[in-house]
Symmetry: C2
Subunit: 121 residues, 2 copies
């Protein structure tokens, strides 16, 4: 059993093309023995963003605080605390922080098609 | 793509043996086409609790607000907003709300061993 508070785990900067001002902490993942999905905490600086991309696995997201938008297939949607977001696989998306910055949880399956590990899980 | 705020989905009372004062809303689940895991939002009234039980699938939990404790295999652990909890399968556990009540997300895999649907997914 694990109990970890997100405030105690600021995470590491995400060094990836198309990313700006993002830190990630894997709060529960494969290193903890979790078999099916990983729970990651992201903080995004004001004006920062995740990469604009698509991939062969889904996201389930919870907005913890701050503000921003979700870019999804050409449209931008406002985000606020308490929002749950489902991003299906193979759709272009990007999380963009507003002036307050953005904090969210993003969950991914532990393996993608054919059993290959999902990045960041 | 789905965006739903937890405040707009108060959920339904959970009618199950050993449960007191709990409402659940499936925020993202199999009915939404999610393939691997389900994100449920729970509100527990002050003094209420989930069942004290164990099962053959894990939980990944995020405490949104309020206060309470996690009972796990004979011990009680305090919970506060921002806590991420991992409850491995086959371990006895119970979520217990304190005087403020408790709000949390609880994620489960969509299927358990042998592919049978996980309850509440």
């Amino acid at each position: 059993m694990i109990i970890r508070n997100i405030d105690d785990h600021p995470g590491q900067p995400v060094d990836m093309e198309g990313v700006s001002g993002v830190r990630m902490s894997v709060m529960v993942g494969r290193d903890d023995g979790a078999p099916n999905f990983a729970l990651r905490h992201f903080t995004v600086e004001p004006g920062g963003h995740s990469p604009q991309h698509s991939h062969d696995f889904e996201h389930e997201v919870f907005v913890v605080g701050g503000n921003g938008t979700l870019y999804f297939e050409g449209d931008e949607h406002p985000l606020r605390a308490g929002d749950v977001v489902y991003v299906p696989s193979e759709h272009e998306h990007q999380f963009r922080a507003g002036p307050e910055g953005l904090r969210f949880l993003c969950l991914v399956p532990m393996s993608r098609s054919c059993g290959e590990p999902t990045p960041g899980s």
